[in-house]
Amino acid sequence: MSRLMPLLTLGVAALFLASLLIGPAPVGVLDSLSALILDDGTPMTLVMREIRLPRALLAVIVGASLGMAGAAMQGYLRNPLAEPGLIGVSASAALGAVIALQTGLAAAFTLALPLTALGTALLGVLLLLTLAGPRGASLTLILAGIAISALAGALLSLVLNLSPNPFATSEIVFWMMGSLADRSMTHVWLALPLSVLGWLMLATLGRGLDALTLGEDAAQALGIRLTRLRLTLVIATASVVGAATAVAGAIGFVGLVVPHILRPLVGARPSRLLFASALGGAVLVLAADIAVRLILPDRDLKLGVVMALIGAPLFLHLIYKTRKEFA
């Protein structure tokens, strides 16, 4: 544990640097970095500041958000299979994005797509809280989340189904694979405030999540206000996942796999897992986004696809390793 956090921090820093240095423009390490820091009037400054920096920053933001929200959700539900998408936010955000793409709104101005996605994510959360109620049990929350995901998924399919425009359809399909390519600092400024707000809220949950290890009754008797914890969790998860989906599309497996990998390394304490998973998520998304650019640089391989290709076998391996524990 004592060495894990510095190690993960180092990993984030190293991969962040690598992410800044990898791209189609063949420029040396020192030249790239000096172009980033000093505006030397060359196109390289533009490449570094407007293309590579936002991409690396978004990888950190999205990864940390998904990792941390996944750890919090697993801790709250006391279930290693929980993931942040469970409460229906990613599905409702995706629906908003698809509507923006289909109606052509996305082409009207840069932020149209992420803003619509955030709007529908908010609608999804409001619907969730209305359905599950402020005092609802965790099971009600899951069921409401599944219902909302199903509804958003159905509406999304309807949009695709009725789409008269094959270009919009293919654009939608590619968007849904999730990517950090061609994002600008505007996207960073849109996602950052919501994400930071969500991180701060999630960070307050550590003590409550630790106590929940003993069940809801025992946690309440330890002075944890469960209603408040649940509301904080839902709002925080909605802001970080809503923001991440709005700028990057649907990126799965981070929130599921990262807490699962790191849990044994932090003595299984949910509070420690929160912060470790934030760093671990950033590491994983940075690495996958670098892989996307290295493996097939000219084919626009999608981040979400690579993530799933890494995530699913990793998950299978974990299941294989821990199957005795579940038996």
Binding site: R78, G206, L214, R225, A268
Partner: protein, 253 residues
Amino acid sequence: MTALLALQDLSVHRGSRPVVDHVSLRVGPGECVGLIGPNGAGKTSLLRAALGLLAHQGQSNIADLPAHARARQAAWMPQSREIAWGIDVEAVIALGRTPWLPRGGRLRPEDRAAVDRAIRRMKLESFRHRPANHLSGGEQARVLIARALAQETPLLMADEPIAGLDPAAQITTMEVFGRIAAEGKAVVVSLHDLGLAARHCTRLVMLDRGRAVADGAPGAVLTPERLEEVFALRAFYSRSADGPIFQPLESLR
């Protein structure tokens, strides 16, 4: 007498049916109260309502406290023994210190001392660094009892804490409860083992269909008539040089 637990006309309804029916109870320092009654008598509901974990009518001095103050006044060991993750035994027991920790949540020396006392009391030294979910059911129960002890509250409430423990551990646990009470705290435990209840509790409260039908010293509560009426049980009860001996003999159902 300053009561550590004071219930006044406490009632709990499931639908329209009362599962706890106007129970009044005062428990003071030094008492180890055994809550007895057949299945469905309302023992768990009474304890949970007293703690404010269940909607109720009537008064409970504990339920009336704000969450944080309540956790420093009463510790609770629920019947369902949940330990979700493979956390160290020591860390599980340290969760009992949650209400006492300052912001940031690091254990202070006095918290570590409380954890050590709880570990010694429940004789868990050899389990200290093992993942709690690798222990047997009875061992987990002892860890959870230690967790409640580590909370070091004036009042300890436990719902069937000794179910599933081996005989020696059952006796040890009841002795620990007795000692805690003797130190000036109060213990309220629900029990099914009337023999242990008779030997180790200073006082018994008998529940039947939500009502407290008897309250007093074990010998005065466990009368043949009440055992027959409430428990449908015939039993042997006598005082010996080894203390009171209670043995159920036959079911009258």
